[in-house]
Symmetry: C2
Subunit: 250 residues, 2 copies
């Protein structure tokens, strides 16, 4: 009885790990989140049961709490089926993978974590942005901008730590976060890059500044990068890649 907690990566099924693709192809049951790109489900065999636990409340009774998801994983895990719990990005970075692992272990079910590429870094790289760069940024902080985490997040110190800042789940609170960063001394002219629906065919890239972030039209899900490396954002065509890579900021 093994349940695999698998990171689906940022969206492109080519960025799933070799192991993730293999257990997905062998799975009897796949429990999947809303934020997982549908193309990542392609390796799943025709006989597998796919349970979508991420459906939003408006389509009826299918919306599930974390406790209900845990119970579902335990129930399927107990049948002896090969169960894959597929989560967007990496299961252990804002993925609540540790909570699901604890519930499964508590029930005596063997669990294995298969890491994935977090959107916070993968989406950046695909958009031309290095999270760190010699002489520019020697650290990166990845932080949730979700309101529930707002109180405990020490924006003042995050702002002054001086590295690249990657905001996830921060679209709704982007104005408040930008204000707090500027109040902590980060310049309004600091480059900001916004990548909506990164690593999917619907990806949209926006170059901005911290001062303009609050007024920028952004739709979730998006990755927001604050820091000098954000100036490396390139458009999707190779000409733009070329000009950006040759820009004075390199």
């Amino acid at each position: 009885m093994t349940v695999y907690l698998v990171g689906a990566g940022p969206g492109d099924p080519d960025l799933l790990t070799v192991k993730g693709a293999r257990v997905l192809a062998a799975a009897d049951v796949v429990v999947v989140d809303r934020l997982v790109d549908r193309r990542v489900l392609e390796p799943i065999g025709p006989g597998a049961l796919v349970v979508d636990v991420g459906k939003t409340a408006h389509d009826g009774a299918s919306w599930r709490t974390q406790a209900a998801i845990n119970e579902l994983l335990v129930a399927h895990g107990r049948t002896g089926a090969l169960v894959v719990r597929l989560k967007g990005g990496d299961p252990y970075l804002f993925g609540r993978g540790a909570e699901e692992l604890a519930a499964l272990v508590d029930a005596g079910i063997e669990v294995e974590v298969v890491p994935g590429i977090t959107s916070a870094l993968g989406v950046l790289a695909l958009a031309g942005i290095p999270a760190t760069l010699r002489g520019v940024a020697s650290s990166v902080t990845i932080v949730s901008g979700h309101s529930a985490d707002g109180a405990e997040t020490k924006w003042r110190h995050i702002a002054r730590a001086g590295g690249t800042l990657v905001l996830l789940m921060a679209v709704a609170n982007r104005m408040r976060i930008a204000t707090q960063l500027m109040e902590a001394g980060v310049s309004a002219t600091t480059p900001v890059a916004v990548i909506e629906r990164g690593a999917t065919p619907y990806e949209r890239r926006l170059a901005s500044t911290l001062g303009e972030l609050g007024d920028l039209h952004v739709e979730a899900p998006a990755v927001i990068v604050v820091g000098d490396v954000a100036s490396h954002l390139v458009r999707s065509d190779s000409e733009a890649v070329l000009s950006a890579a040759l820009s004075p900021t390199e």
Copy 2:
């Protein structure tokens, strides 16, 4: 003429991406770093030229500067061969991938970045440590502890940002870093986990505290995790996984 900058992931070849494995199998030339686990080279075809640019100086003339590596990539790229530049972890997180990309673009050679799982997150997940955890850590800062970056790293603010701290290339400076963090107010009893040679058969896991980190025997390469999530470190056998997952910190 395309050069692929591929992230090899943390060590286990199963954690290479599907795309990384595919371009590696098709490669004419593979330029590889010392820190890349040799098992990751298995998909490479028998006819491919493998250039190891990470050999240390003691074995003669094979040690290369970054400029020499850039020149090598450009020279191979110009031949029209399918060139893979394989880098440990992710090429855009302390990987100097952006510098190599710039050199190649400058020479008119098309480059594609294939992200990999950074050791900073992948090695943690495999050792049972979630980088973030609801109610415990809502951010993670990944920072280089290399001496060259020491001056510009603002340990005081990093310490007070309050999230999980992941130190890479910090073995040599661990005493100094621990002292600076404690001077900035981080408790000496803060849990620390050290994972040497993560995701390899030689992996070694150590549970410690910030106060003890300086005196702990650690060999590079290692990932050092500072923060309450570090208490989730588990040993490799499943019994230990079970007891750790059931511990009061969960």
